[in-house]
Symmetry: C4
Subunit: 277 residues, 4 copies
């Protein structure tokens, strides 16, 4: 889907190596890039540990600059060899690539390196682009498809959760706020409700009144059954995508058929040849 | 299902806009109402934060009165245009609508606005009435149906849980109460048992004796397998409602058939045409 | 399965009322008994709260004696009317019934009522015997059957868990014990491993060393996937018991067949008429 | 698969008893070995409790030496009777067997017995070798197969989790680190993200800023839906392995067929006789 002037051989070679992963060179590049990214993330992790940062200031800075140097070259090459420059520069990955080198240069003026970390870690997302083209493709497709299918239900369900935690939070606020600083205001109470309903249960905020503990008990038992719902949704979708083949019936347009059905169970007409899931 | 005197055009118009969502006007009204409700909930959240309440007292009060004003008008219009006034006023939503404006007027005499929050947040439930008529209808039906189907089993299961936590709580009370203030009485011990069995684990109450920790360990491993049961129930119901079509066999009355079955597997008689799930 | 001398009408009447639940009288008795049991449990809960016990000493004692009186009569009647006395007295419920009245009489000599609670709460288990004969019978059978089916796998799985927590606990003990009193000995470390792996996470014991936190992270991510296994087991069994009918093939003895199969998929021979699950 | 010189009867007898479990002697040996292993683990647990270790120093030491003696004999016998000595010595279990006796002898010079515990506990893994040959074989195979099948997806999923917790940790570090010592550096923040996402929720590190709590809320709700994915994966695989029979179609090589299919749903050719799952 990309057109080249027959002349620039190099550009095309680079493009295939940097942007594609189906050639030997492309795979190698991806692996090397991945290593550098992981290394850069580890580095910003270590830098964030104050004592280490003091102790190994010099090597850390050198590491920073090497990584920045490599990322910069990569970025320039990407822009150089990509056919549709605008499209890349303003693409999700394009922006991340740019942001991940920018701070280093800014930090010459303002020496805070703290905020590298986030942008760097975002580069880890590239892993998925690489996985896309790897032996995981079938699994990831199957996963993605099931999740996509259940997304709508999960979304609907989370509306319900959000409303519920708001109401529960408000109730607990009324019950506990007088005696319990932890429930000092509704947002905090809602935060508590989420912590409880998701069974995370930090324990930084806990009910102290009898009524509060009673309500909390109900919320927990509720959450215990509620946790079943998203699981049920995903499970059923996954099993479905195992059992169903995605062939559209040419007559009635029904899209779900048993894996070993030859005829549409809706209208009984012969199904086109199936691509097994 | 509602009868009008041909005269009052306006009433009917209003009714369709306020109570129905299938017209353009109705949809718009619902969205606007939703925005006001969400805004009112956010407001009562902010009010509950003491420092903000002090700082922005005036704007908050004004906001309050605007919302109360809007809700009051809405309430009056609802009563005005609904055919069966009694039915609406004493309906679940009717009562909530009333209660959500009442406190504001009371607060002229008694200035505590604290308890607005709950009633306001209950109005969020209207979202579901609106969703009911939206593109989520299929998903929500499917969810609701599955949950309804599994409700009985879940209820039965929660009996079991409640009995278990009572017994476990009593046991832990006997084991720990002497040395551990956290297990000072049985209700608290039961509360602990719920916190543990649901894997919430606040850590506000934890066993300190060796025996107590041993029992706790057993309870946790128990809870770990028990958490599987409600999930299993919901999952199986969801998958079932995928696999089954809800056609009643005209001969033997069996209500469950494979999605692609043409004949009842109970009595072998032809099934009526299916509405696909 | 119980034989009577034609003479003693009364005995038989009593037996049907007290031990069976299919007659009107039997149902009534069960409900009344249940109420008394629940009441007795609530009473021992309240007694366990020191301040209440001080305040309402007299009414509590009176309540105690009323309950003990009722339970004693019930116990005597049970022994009187049951055909096989030995069998009942040494049955699980028989022993509980006896133990739930014993302490009251002992407490005349030694006034500690603390340990009533457990035995009393055990009486709650009677609920299941009553449910057995109620409208929940189908659901409870289905649940019980599925759980029974998956019990063996769950058991096998919990062996695995127990071994794992032992090993993980031992490792964490070696890593943390020097600097962290929480991991003072292996049993405590194992307790921590269980708390972590089951995602309860009290936080009463937490790793402090970097290595400790790293291992903890791995354990958690492990637990996150492991929690899937028991759920998977139960879910699959439940779905199976939906999909399968429990008819034994008369030819090959295969016990699992699709709900709508007329012929054994093992040997192809006609199946006997199915009792739908 | 093991060849013996006809001469050494004893060796062969020993080999069958020690390494195999299908004879009466073999079963007995396994059970005895298991008891000794469990006992040894319990002993190192008790030793790790300081007060006990002081009190019962002598009996503990004696116990140690008895166990070491038994394990040493076992090890020698294993080497003596196994046909392929190298293979055993450098096998996983061979190394564990060796390491589990080594420390005792070293401890003559250096008296720390602390690190016995781990290696000892690793011997518990032998249980599985024994289970392999027991009545659990069918269940364990079914479990193992399902887990193996879903391993790839779970792995893919955990990549995703690891990347996510890194990003989330980095974000929270930026948000909280200034005011919250708990988020002092990125690794700790990542540790917190794992604790939260897996719903363990120790509460040793909790967000204090409003923004922090908001992000935490999102993470929890995320985790709540995400926990569904591995469960869905395992469930679907388990159900599949119930529904599918593992017969390879001789024509098209398709490996998945409905349990009661006689013909391949891919190419329609007759399937070879099935071994029921």
């Amino acid at each position: 889907m990309t057109s080249f002037k027959p002349s620039d051989e190099l550009k095309q070679k680079l493009y295939v190596i940097i942007f594609k992963s189906d050639t030997k060179g492309g795979k190698l590049f991806d692996v090397l890039l991945l290593i550098v990214i992981v290394f850069s993330v580890l580095l910003s992790m270590l830098e964030s540990i104050v004592e280490y940062d003091k102790q190994y200031l010099i090597p850390f800075r050198i590491g920073e600059w090497i990584i920045t140097f490599l990322f910069t070259i990569e970025y320039i090459l990407r822009i150089y060899c990509v056919p549709n420059k605008k499209k890349y520069i303003f693409s999700f990955y394009g922006i991340i690539d740019f942001l991940s080198i920018l701070p280093a240069f800014i930090s010459i003026l303002f020496s805070s390196t703290r905020y590298f970390s986030i942008i760097r870690s975002l580069r880890l997302l590239r892993i998925f682009r690489i996985l896309k083209l790897s032996r995981y493709v079938k699994e990831s497709n199957h996963l993605a498809e099931s999740i996509k299918r259940s997304a709508k239900k999960i979304l609907l369900f989370s509306y319900f959760i959000i409303i519920m935690v708001t109401i529960l939070g408000a109730i607990m606020y009324v019950v506990e706020s007088k005696v319990n600083p932890g429930f000092g205001n509704i947002p905090e109470s809602v935060y508590w409700a989420v912590v409880t309903l998701t069974t995370v249960g930090y324990g930084d905020i806990t009910p102290v009144t009898f009524l509060g503990q009673l309500i909390a008990t109900v919320i927990m038992l509720l959450g215990y059954s509620i946790i079943a719902v998203p699981t049920g949704i995903v499970s059923s979708e996954m099993i479905r995508s195992h059992r169903m083949k995605d062939v559209v019936c040419l007559k009635c347009g029904n899209q779900e058929h048993d894996r070993n059905a030859f005829y549409c169970h809706q209208c009984g007409s012969r199904l086109p040849i199936s691509k097994s899931p």
